[in-house]
Symmetry: C2
Subunit: 612 residues, 2 copies
């Protein structure tokens, strides 16, 4: 009702810097003759500060408003919420979207870990807004990787500068998770171009008013190409045609079929796009390569999936810090020690045990997924750093990126929703009304488990492909690290018992891996699919437990060395211990479930689900 | 975007009847000279059929529309969504809200279990709409229990007939969970009435246009009364004054301060109400009893909390059946056996293992909470049935109602949100848009964990009061029943292994109870509070596992006897086995967590939660 006290967006920059510098040791890859030679700790900090200011001043204040106003269609075009255009311009002026883009393409050749940290603040302050440049970035990454020199020259500079936007057009009404069922056609023209005919749905930023052109990356099937994913090619389809000199020409017959009305990210236009309704839509084949569309898409899937993980982290962190502010301000009830005395002074709710448990649980989960995300970005950066210098290290770091990608996408997105739910509950009735913003976090975050491959697709990717990749070498490397860490801290009076819990949990996860291998060997594919989601969660929690305890060991060393940031470092230790004592011990029991080999979901008849 | 295929509301009447007749054996208390002597199986079935038709034809079709239109304020009054007035009238004509009200008060003297089953369909088809009559029912229950004969005579008949509405006014801005902090004043008048002055917030149906008057039940403190809950009295405060003959007189100075904009239940007006802004608001003391307000409220708390549990069941069931319909219709991908063949025929998604797992998980959770809810309602009915005949049985049944109330309220409300989340995920991208309705189920259901006592308040009620009530007799009775069931089915080739899992889970729950007793004895109150929510979940799952397996044993007997409802009964067996094999085995590990006595949430400093 009242317009009180809506929590403004907050970012925990101290914790972000801890992850980058103290835990992921980003400085190790700066300087010298490496790809990040122009960067140092101070320049990273400066960018982070700038991004935080931008999120606080520009995108954050537009978040509730964009949700309320949403997008609308006027004269066949999408109108984004007021203020988005200004935010778009400022963001590109600041260069916040091109930090990890090579200088040769107009970017700043920074580490991915930095871009990821910046994305946390951009998405956390306004997920819906950040979808538009996010998709534009995805499209330009695609062009940078696979475009011909002419294609790159024509499109990239303007896309990277934000003058033109971009989209990814995969999904069709009958082809969602089953992308190979796409029926959009590409008809070969005498001049080498292709006529595109078809309808794509759920296209994020499929139309908007933020840029003068939108370059669509469209999956379509060239006449005569094979069925399924192998017959798909990728086409560059600008909304407005571009002349050879790069100026805008005439309209390319890409029309807006409508926009969806959604649970959340309402400021982001989710579009139906019709290509070639008037038989006048032309596309260029990406890189001139036929039937390579899925390979090209998948090449960039890791980045896209990591981006969703970052969105999850972003809203989880924002929801947590909102709940923390609320708990520090809101008075209700007396302390548990005086619960029988009606005259006892009212206290802020942060004094109540269940609120503290909720806060510490959120803190542990948020810092756990942040740590996971910075870890994977740092693996990607190290793979780039060692490129051409140390093949073994490159293989190791790339392998970890492969292995961790489905974990980051699915676990971080599920946790975002879970953390937002806890944050809402901390707010009580106030959490259920629009005024405090946390209900928007909950709504916005729900899409993360669905798009860029549903979380079940991630789980199947993990169990059916990633665990066994390179003969299981990536998995073994990760498990080995966790075991070595447990071994190294076994005698620590504070962390020792927690690492023992981690060791037991990890054993249980390894036991599950063995079981999956057995099932695969015996052709029990349905069992693999039935347990995949739960396995992904178990493995994620073991890795998060490891990352948190690693952080705690670093924090302990700082405390032992007499750091004057006692509050900060003790918080790290508490969060890790909470997670170790409250989450890790549940893993063995949950892993044992797999041992029951329950296939009741397969043996039940379709009719038995409900006969009403 | 498109207005396709929104799933209409569905109720599983066959399963509801299974719970009422086959599992709760409702017929045992019909006929004879008992309170339900006028009822038989056929009359119950007739009412259920009527309620289902009403939900399908009247409230169901208004659900999405009410969500979209919401409530609005016009000239200081709440306007409910179009169609609500008509639904209100029809529902009262059908007598659907007075099934369990004594005939002497204008009701039908039916069992609570029947009213609960009807409420499932009313709430499931339109939660927001059903809030208005729900609160009116709560207020009239209150009057029936505590009003003077004059008060009952004046208000009850019109409230039970739906001519007048009613509300419960507890919460104030500074007094939510801490209801004893209420500052609304009651000033004694020479004529025995009281002037009421204060502002109440979050008042469901605080104003609306469905009835000609609204009778508010207002907690206020008489001048000079003690602080805290003990000084609160309950007042009957009609919006429009009522003459001694029951006709409407002048306006009673109860004004609308505004309505909240909420995540869900948007068709339900959540109001700020100002009492006595012009010093002209009068109330009557409920039953003429001073400082009895909290006792009076708490007397009916069980009913109110059960009602929230029913709301949870209602949306969980609706969301499940929507997802099931979607899974049976939506084609996507090929069967897992042919996943490498792009030419393999597309199948409906119910063929995919993870979709089947999702459906069976939802089915088990929904039927588990339905079973729990019918169980508690049936305990209440049996307590009434044995009243004056068998004191021991009355005490037993009343004791089970006490023990199960916090479980039903908290577990069913949490599960509703969880099931809606799974149902949304089954829909994929379609679940995230308004068209399919499941996102509304998710939004609507989130309030259930907050109102009528947050779920942490329920958990504290369970561990700090209910477990030890009557020296632990209620708890022991329930545990004893579960153990006897396990013993009786130990040798069953199909249910035996499942009951073994139940026995182990129950042991773990009992272990937790012992631990809580130890903590209480040692004064470790914060540990009790820190683990309370998780204990409630563990205990709920053990009881649900028991109820499901009991249902399965009944179903097995029917199958063995050659029933021709094979699909239905096999579904019951599958759901129980799924729950037993997938949920029960996780209980011991989750219970062990308590053994770590982790108090990191208490020892962390307030500053350490975040230093940014």
């Amino acid at each position: 009702m009242s317009n009180v006290l809506r929590n403004r967006y907050q970012a925990d920059l101290r914790e972000i810097e801890f992850q980058l510098f103290e835990q992921a040791k980003l400085e190790e890859i700066f300087g010298g003759d490496g790809p990040f030679s122009a960067w140092d700790k101070e320049s990273v900090q400066m960018v982070l500060q700038q991004a935080k200011q931008f999120a606080y001043d520009v995108t954050g204040p537009l978040n509730a408003f964009g949700d309320q106003q949403g997008c609308r269609v006027e004269d066949g075009r999408v109108k984004t919420p007021a203020g988005f255009q200004d935010a778009w311009n400022k963001m590109y002026e600041l260069g916040l979207k091109s930090l990890a883009v090579p200088e040769s393409l107009g970017g700043q050749s920074g580490p991915h870990a930095l871009q990821v940290a910046v994305e946390e603040m951009l998405s956390g302050s306004n997920t819906a807004f950040n979808m538009y440049p996010g998709l534009a970035m995805g499209a330009s990454d695609m062009l940078a990787a696979f475009g011909t020199p002419e294609q790159k020259g024509l499109y990239l500079p303007k896309m990277i500068a934000g003058q033109w936007g971009g989209t990814m057009c995969l999904t069709e009404a009958q082809a969602g998770s089953d992308v190979g069922a796409a029926t959009t056609k590409a008809l070969r023209q005498p001049d080498g171009r292709f006529k595109i005919v078809g309808t794509k749905v759920f296209i994020t930023g499929g139309d908007h008013d933020l840029a003068e052109n939108i370059v669509h990356m469209v999956l379509a099937r060239i006449e005569g190409a094979p069925a399924g994913t192998k017959g798909l090619s990728l086409f560059i389809v600008p909304r407005v045609r571009v002349t050879k000199t790069g100026s805008l020409a005439d309209f390319n017959d890409v029309t807006l079929g409508g926009i969806e009305h959604k649970l959340g990210i309402k400021g982001s236009a989710t579009c139906v796009l019709n290509f070639g309704e008037n038989d006048d839509c032309f596309g260029e084949l990406m890189g001139g390569a036929e039937n390579e569309g899925i390979k090209q898409m998948f090449h960039l899937m890791n980045t896209a999936r990591l981006a969703v993980g970052v969105q999850g982290l972003a809203l989880a962190s924002s929801a947590y810090l909102s709940a923390l502010s609320y708990a520090r301000e809101r008075k209700q009830g007396s302390s548990i020690e005086h619960f029988k005395d009606p005259q006892a002074p009212r206290v802020t709710i942060i004094h109540h045990p269940d609120i503290r448990r909720s806060l510490l649980e959120m803190k542990a989960r948020v810092e756990g997924i942040r740590s996971l995300i910075v870890l994977i970005a740092s693996h990607a950066d190290r793979a780039a750093y060692y490129q051409g210098k140390d093949d073994e290290k490159v293989a190791y770091h790339k392998g970890q990126v492969e292995l961790l990608t489905p974990i980051v996408k699915a676990y971080a997105s599920d946790q975002a929703f879970r953390v937002a739910e806890i944050a809402l509950q901390v707010h009580g009735g106030a959490g259920y009304i629009h005024d405090y913003g946390v209900e928007q976090d909950l709504r916005d975050s729900k899409i993360f488990s669905i798009y860029e491959g549903t979380n079940h697709i991630q789980a199947m990717d993990l169990v059916a492909r990633k665990l066994g990749q390179k003969g299981g070498a990536n998995t073994q490397a990760l498990v080995g690290e966790i075991q070595a860490f447990c071994e190294a801290h076994r005698e620590d009076p504070q962390l020792g018992p927690a690492t023992a819990l981690l060791a037991t949990a990890t054993e249980a996860v390894v036991g599950c891996v063995m079981r999956f291998m057995g099932w695969s060997a015996e052709g029990k594919l349905p069992l693999v699919a039935l347990f995949a989601n739960r396995f992904l969660e178990l493995m994620s929690e073991a890795v998060v437990g490891y990352q948190l305890l690693k952080g705690a060991s670093i924090a302990k060393a700082e405390l032992a060395a007499g750091s004057d940031e006692k509050d900060f470092y003790q918080g790290k230790v508490h969060a890790a211990l909470w997670f170790a004592r409250n989450v890790l011990p549940t893993i063995p029991g949950r892993a044992e479930v797999a041992g029951n080999e329950d296939d009741s979901a397969m043996t039940i008849s379709d009719e038995s689900f409900a006969t009403a």
